[in-house]
């Protein structure tokens, strides 16, 4: 990709948009201050005959929460492991804070914190022992280490349970400890692999809010791998949808929802002709398409998001129609993901 050799940041992003259908996140101005922290180029990794990651490209900017979203086996964890320098790619390259994940593993490891999908703490040790153990790996002065452990225990609200063995922790406490361990050394980049897997709604929300806070207050850049779409929607500035090792779409969650789903209104009339009302609706500038279905049902696709049920009900009234039932459906990221899953199944069947 010769276009990438240009040193002009704007042009580089323009080129990327073309290559990768990337677009700049709305709340990120792409001035020269916004540094790419993670840069992934044509990264591939296979295991035996299976290609887990297939020539993917993306970059994550400083202070951003970037989501890698995909079904199980899409290649999320493999990508994360490569970026953490624990696994070498077959081809392509990746840098973290400017350090190459193959040649400069030490620099990469100094830059990152990793929260693993599976349990990575020792359940026979107490919470504090686990953190102390992790901190010692960085060979810090004693006071510094102890302060670090105490601070992070406080942040995740585990001070009360610092001296309890981890095997007696609840699921939520365990995840908080895992995140605390990842955050321990205040890394520049936090790699989170399914950080809320197996948690209840309340605990999940707690973890999300904590991650948001850490991202805002400490300026941590985060790469989040998740199969929970609502998680990516809630947390991420931008997401890339990974399917069978390939990035099939990458944008802000909103833009993806807009491009892959429609705001649909389904309604039934109790008074007036279905055909007449459909004709009326088609004349509206905000209507994309109007479809008449059996049993008097109308399906209306909207161009303009600001138009909702109240406007349509009002319109029906003024024209002498009366609506017996109406519902609106907004697209979710699930539709986007399932769209790709279905598409690839269809392609395989051909």
């Amino acid at each position: 990709m010769a276009i990438l050799t240009t040193e002009d940041l704007t042009r580089r992003v323009e080129a990327l948009k073309a290559v990768n259908s990337l677009s700049a996140p709305p709340d990120f101005t792409l001035d020269s201050d916004r540094k790419p922290i993670l840069v992934v180029r044509n990264l591939s990794k296979g295991f035996g005959h299976v290609t887990a990651v297939d020539a993917i490209n993306f970059e994550v900017f400083e202070g951003e929460i970037f989501g890698l979203v995909g079904l199980n086996g899409a290649g999320k964890t493999t990508t994360m492991l490569i970026l953490s320098s624990l696994l070498n790619p077959d081809s392509g390259s990746a840098t973290v804070c400017g350090y190459d994940v193959v040649k400069e593993k030490d620099g990469v490891r100094r830059s990152i914190g990793f929260v693993f999908e599976e349990e990575a703490v020792d359940i026979y040790l107490t919470g504090k022992q686990n953190l102390d153990f992790a901190a010692r790996m960085y060979s810090l002065a004693r006071q510094e280490r102890e302060k670090m452990v105490a601070d992070v225990l406080k942040t995740v609200g585990l001070e009360q349970h610092a001296n309890t063995k981890v095997k007696d922790y609840s699921g939520g406490m365990l995840r908080r400890l895992e995140i605390a361990r990842g955050m321990l050394t205040s890394p520049k980049v936090l790699l989170l692999d399914e950080p809320t897997i197996g948690l209840d709604v309340q605990t999940r929300r707690y973890v999300w809010d904590y991650l948001r806070r850490v991202n805002k207050e400490m300026g941590v850049t985060a790469l989040l791998a998740t199969s929970y779409l609502e998680e990516a929607d809630y947390l991420c500035n931008r997401i890339a949808i990974l399917h069978e090792g390939k990035i099939v779409a990458s944008n802000t969650p909103e833009a993806l929802k807009d491009s892959f789903g429609e705001n649909l209104i389904t309604l039934k009339l109790s008074k007036g002709s279905q055909e007449d009302f459909a004709r009326q609706l088609r004349e509206m500038t905000w209507a994309n398409s109007v479809e008449t279905q059996s049993q008097g049902t109308l399906v209306l696709s909207l161009k303009d998001k600001s138009i909702g049920i109240p406007e349509i009900v009002r319109m029906a009234k003024t024209h002498g129609f009366s609506i017996s039932s109406i519902k609106s459906s907004t697209p979710s990221l699930n539709d986007v993901l399932l769209h790709y899953a279905k598409k690839s199944v269809a392609e395989r069947d051909e």
Partner: protein, 282 residues
């Protein structure tokens, strides 16, 4: 590449790593000990296991050897005194090999990933871990010797000298590390962890049985292959060295015991360390 545009970020002061990473090594050692003392069943097994071998195998077998005059233990040792160093060496074989291969378990269960993402040498992690396992193995060896000395007042086992005892400890340490290296190498060779322990047992037990730990190696002198196998088994030299130093009866030349076990330790520690340093998490 692009990383070069902005230069490397000063993440933390990237100083040169010390050759000896004391904190991580200590920390890995400490973790092994905390885990050991946290599990009551493991402490119990440390004392119960040598007791079972010595009581339920040592005493019955020693009856065969003391009643039948045609078969006697070389060097004039009581049979019980003969197998005590064998049981001690068994602990070193199993403890050392397990310590090496369980690196794989940690990898599987995620714990090793946690420490592997830290900027620490792989070899430091391995050294700390092995030192922890060594400490536990030595606790077990001392427990075995303690029990054997008590039973030995009736069954005829005593340690010849303090110097012999101390030298035997040194020899045990070398033997232990030889098997740590062996275990690491095995772990690296067999990538699949499923059924892995079964394969390891299939290698460990023949090594134990054909090492002169339970029966003098001369017992099977007439049987081809089996007899020769004993001489390519490194544990044979480990057992003989420990026995010689503890009881004063060497069945092989002492220099040969030392040479073989040191060579074996160096070879496999080198192979194991190399395999470990190349290990990826997948």
């Amino acid at each position: 590449m692009w990383g070069g545009w902005y230069g490397k970020m000063d993440v933390q002061e990237v100083t040169h790593r010390p050759l000896f990473e004391g904190e991580p090594i200590y920390s890995m050692w400490l973790r092994e000990l905390i885990r050991f003392f946290a599990m009551r069943s493991r402490i119990l097994a440390t004392f119960a296991s040598p007791l079972i071998w010595l009581l339920f195998l040592g005493i019955p077998l020693s009856q065969i050897f003391s009643s039948g005059a045609s078969q006697s233990v070389p060097g004039g040792l009581s049979f019980f005194a003969f197998i005590v160093p064998g049981i001690v060496s068994m602990g070193l074989l199993f403890g050392g090999t397990n310590s090496g291969v369980t690196v794989l378990w940690d990898k599987e269960f995620g714990f090793l990933k946690e420490v592997m993402v830290a900027p620490v040498r792989r070899t430091s992690l391995m050294i700390g871990r092995s030192l922890g396992a060594l400490t536990i193995a030595l606790i077990q060896a001392l427990a075995t010797l303690g029990i054997a000395l008590i039973l030995g007042t009736w069954l005829g086992f005593r340690i010849i000298s303090v110097a012999g005892f101390l030298l035997a400890i040194g020899f045990m340490i070398i033997t232990f590390f030889a098997f740590v290296g062996f275990g690491l190498t095995l772990g690296a060779l067999i990538e699949n962890t499923e059924g892995f322990m079964t394969i390891v047992r299939m290698i460990e037990f023949p090594m134990f049985f054909l090492s002169g730990a339970l029966l003098p190696i001369s017992v099977i002198k007439g049987i081809p292959v089996l007899y020769q196998l004993q001489f390519i088994n490194p544990l044979t030299y480990g057992v003989d060295g420990v026995r010689g130093l503890l009881t004063g009866v060497f069945l092989l030349p002492a220099w040969l015991d030392l040479t073989v076990i040191v060579a074996f330790a160096l070879l496999f520690l080198f192979l194991g360390a190399y395999a470990f340093s190349k290990m990826e998490v997948d």
